[in-house]
Symmetry: C2
Subunit: 244 residues, 2 copies
């Protein structure tokens, strides 16, 4: 599995710059699986992007306040979007896994609103926004896909905004990650999970201790296992039933 490789600092499949077969911009979903789109438009996009940049844990992709120039797409690893509140504490407002697009918060007024960092080592692609917009003036499909991605992000927030208890928050998060891995051809039952419990607790709006206790309970009930930064969903029906 990709991330495991990255962790061990082993070799990573190297693809030529310009290749893009991961992000939502260049793929579509067929039968719950992501499939690469073949078209002139995609070739045009690939001509402007810079792909598969390596990044180490805790390094920054972009910083709040800086001038918005690029969108980014996760190729491997996990990334977090951090917002600094007026009171000065950091709140993790979003978490990204492979295929997702980062940087939409910079479009509004030309400055990023959050800081995005790598949770684990990984890689990402850079999509210069103004060239992309140039393309989207020409190709209806690109404009379409861009707007659909932003719409999807809005929906994600609308729906996630939900009122769950601690256990449901965690399970719902793990389920999202599971589905995203599955859609990209990996196992839905076992996948890398490198975010720290502190970060995850912050993201879910829980105390670190509460999250730890919830994990403990889920392990005890043989719902899931967490070892070596890898999650295994042991009992999928029981796992899903938490959300009812």
């Amino acid at each position: 599995m990709l991330n495991t490789n990255l962790n061990n600092n082993k070799k990573i499949e190297q693809k030529p710059t310009g290749y893009c077969g991961d992000c939502e911009l260049c793929t579509k979903t067929v039968d719950n699986r992501r499939v690469r789109i073949q078209s002139n438009e995609i070739a045009a996009i690939e001509a402007i992007i810079d792909s598969h940049i390596m990044i180490e844990k805790n390094q920054t992709v972009y910083t709040a306040g800086n001038t918005f120039q690029n969108l980014y797409t996760v190729h491997s690893g996990m990334f977090k979007s951090v917002y600094l509140t007026q009171q000065g504490d950091e709140r993790i407002v979003d978490v990204f896994i492979p295929g997702q697009i980062m940087g939409f918060d910079g479009i509004h007024d030309g400055k990023y609103k959050t800081t995005v960092k790598a949770v684990s080592s990984g890689s990402y692609c850079v999509i210069p926004f103004y060239p992309l917009q140039e393309l989207s003036m020409k190709h209806r499909d690109i404009q379409n896909r861009l707007m659909k991605m932003m719409s999807e992000k809005i929906i994600q927030f609308e729906i996630t905004h939900s009122e769950y208890n601690a256990q449901q928050k965690l399970v719902s998060f793990v389920k999202d990650v599971s589905e995203l891995y599955y859609s990209r051809g990996f196992s839905a039952k076992q996948f890398p999970f490198q975010i720290s419990q502190r970060d995850l607790a912050n993201y879910l709006g829980l105390a670190e201790e509460t999250l730890s206790r919830v994990f403990k309970k889920l392990k005890k009930n043989d719902v899931l296992a967490l070892a070596d930064h890898q999650i295994t969903i042991i009992d999928m029906p029981k796992f899903l039933s938490v959300l009812d």
Copy 2:
């Protein structure tokens, strides 16, 4: 004030169809105030929209599951966006006041994800999306503004997603409404507030009773007053200090 008029079923300023001086698509912010943009592009937009449709309390603008065709912009009144969870209960995921755009959740896959209803009687404009997209292929400005609006919505969710206690949730909401009224030339200290406490509690993720108690506390401390579906912020510094 507009909404007060609407409430009493008194006369409403009638403007010719096609006029659009309210939504974020046709205005820009200068010194915290919304100003109408004058340009060919705006004229083009005004040619396709259907403006100032009247609507009664509880009537539906669009329904979850229906085919996405239009964006909508609030002209007067307040609207709520309702999401039906798998468990069958309704969660209010967004609230719209004048100037805001509704319907972005339909772009992703061509079907609306939520149902939008009027909280009070009011009026709105209809913006047919495909004609708008047509325009945005021609006018860079329109494409720009569309994406900026979606970006703003994403930012709003990122930032609102915050972890506040009950009192802070309420004050933060009232503050948002206050700022939006102010930006449109109305008083920041006194404005209509027609959403029911049940709906608001749902939206904020609180129990109705908790919200009632928070209101009581704020009234008792002379921070704000709520009478006749109208909020008055009595002590602005005290009001804002709740969020520290």
